[in-house]
Amino acid sequence: MTVGTVAAPGQDVSARRRLRGLVLGLLGLAVGGAAIAGLGLGPVPIPPGEILAMLFGQAPADPTHGAVLFAIRLPRVILGILVGAGLAVAGAAFQGLFRNPLADPGIIGVSSGGTLGAVGFIVLGPALGLDFAGIHALPLAAFAGALGATLLVARIAALAGGSTAALLLAGIAIAALAAAGTGLLVFVGDDQQLRALVFWTMGSLSAAPIDGILWGLPALLAPLVALPWLARALDAMLLGEREAHHLGLDVVRLKRIVVVATSIGVGAAVALAGVIGFIGLMAPHLARLALGPGHRLLLPAAALIGAFLMLLADITARLAVAPAELPVGIVTGCIGGPFFLWLLVHRRAGRA
């Protein structure tokens, strides 16, 4: 063909790279700001300067402040960051894997299985002689439910031929079954159990004990650590499974790694904070609008946006009806739903 002047692709590549670095930097600052706000706001306000001083090891000026910061708010903010980032990265990876900006790890049964595990433990636990006393027992039951459901879905999908459609359909069926099981348990549960489980099914960062978070840390970090390595492979998946294969990828293995890493991470998030919707959709969507669909930037940007949104939602949940507290899942739903509709109507032409 006509070999004209060979222009370098993207003459303003470096300008664009600088812009992207700037965006990531700003997002990082936003997360830092939200974290300080999350640590400072509440019934006992702590000024930012004091927070920073305490975080950097100075003895607290006021002992109550020290106790509130380290025993109550810090675990909560850390959990918020990890859960928000994890849900966002898992969502972004799933959307890449399924080439669908609306995909979410929920479609392979993680959330519904986790809910069934937790609700089953709350309602049936006492009858089986298990008790709330074991602080790790509830998250463990939820985690087991989440992974169990995912394994079941993956197994059934493999039996049905292993196609993406089979995976989605098996996920829908198992999620429906798990939801029915959950409904049945709710039906037979008593009042006290219902209160416990409502909070849980709607998500909250308040329930997790600090040592539970430490136990869950490796699982929460799994998708954050594993998925960025697969960024280029996920880019290729956006072209299609055949094309990804032509480019030398082992598509079956890639799918397996993504499903395992996300279900471990989302399973842990569900176990420690309940079911929190919309972060996994909203954060990657915003990141794609700002930075394009390439996963090398999308994954870190989505993680930062997810963490930021999660912290914001948690602060809102704590302040909106103080001194009571809303389940944070309600807040993400209230913000996420309208926001999504607004995007749908106004940003059709965006880069998403």
Binding site: M1, V6, A8, Q11, L247, G248
Partner: protein, 268 residues
């Protein structure tokens, strides 16, 4: 040599989509595969790309079964342009072409990858399109971007000859192109073959196939029914047998090559 040896692809119903098809894609040669819709052309290409396992027979790259090659090794030697690719995500054109660099471990932003991507875009006549959003291109432009991605995957800069033979498998590369770009893409395919690549192109334009290709492989009903130089292969009898139309193959009086002139198309 990329070779199909007695390949068969059999549906659970017992129907043979491919029936003992043998073919070798030779380096330095431009081969066209022609045949009616459903003849099995894309299926043959899928097996040569190592995408599916044949029910019978083998597909080999230099005597090694494709299934035994590591993906990355295979991808450095065989690039495939599928019949259609649907990409809904708003990548920039240079990013899409840069995906062809995946088996080479670099991308469109630096070093050799950057140069190869720029050269690939220039070769498909889209030198200035690097920063455009892929989703805003026309169908034919998108098709050419995908071809550029294959070129970037084959890792050739102007004037370079590959040390080991590489293969380019094109499934209807001209389907959505205007006449000028159809000719340009096939000329490019021919040039690449002259630089030592083995190029296989599925085509429906018999005149174009016979005019630019070194060899015609004719498929019908899952079988290879003819294989040889265009002049000796394509004639009135073959066209009637394979397509069921009465057409004359005549020498192009003005430009060389051949023209296919239907006497009367029979509509069933």
């Amino acid at each position: 040599m990329l070779a199909a040896r007695e390949l068969s692809l059999i549906l659970p119903s017992g129907r043979r989509i491919l029936d003992r098809a043998s073919l070798s894609v030779a380096p330095g040669q431009l081969t066209a595969v022609i045949g009616p819709n459903g003849a099995g052309k894309s299926s043959l290409l899928r097996l040569l790309a190592g995408e599916a396992r044949p029910a019978e027979g083998r597909a080999d790259l230099d005597e090694t079964p494709l299934a035994r090659l590591r993906g990355r090794e295979r991808a450095r030697r065989i690039a495939v342009l599928p019949q259609s690719t649907h990409l809904d995500f708003a990548f920039r054109v240079s990013e899409v072409v840069g995906l062809g660099r995946l088996p080479h471990g670099d991308d469109e932003t630096r070093g050799r990858g950057r140069a190869v991507v720029a050269a690939a875009l220039a070769q498909v006549d889209l030198a200035d399109y690097g920063d455009r959003l892929y989703t805003t291109l026309s169908g034919g432009e998108q098709q050419r971007v995908q071809l550029a991605r294959c070129l970037a995957q084959l890792d050739l800069l102007a004037g370079e000859r590959p040390d080991r033979a590489r293969y380019l498998l094109l499934d209807e590369p001209t389907a959505s192109l205007d006449p000028a770009h159809q000719l340009a893409v096939m000329t490019l395919a021919r040039d690449l073959s002259r630089r030592g690549l083995g190029v296989l192109a599925v085509l429906h334009d018999l005149g174009l196939a016979a005019s630019v290709c070194d060899r015609l492989v004719v498929m019908a009903g899952g079988r290879i029914v003819a294989d040889g130089p265009p002049g000796a292969t394509l004639d009135r009898g073959l066209i009637a047998a394979v397509y069921g139309i009465d057409a004359e193959v005549i020498a192009n009086p003005v430009g060389g090559g051949v023209l296919i002139a239907p006497r009367a198309a029979r509509c069933p």
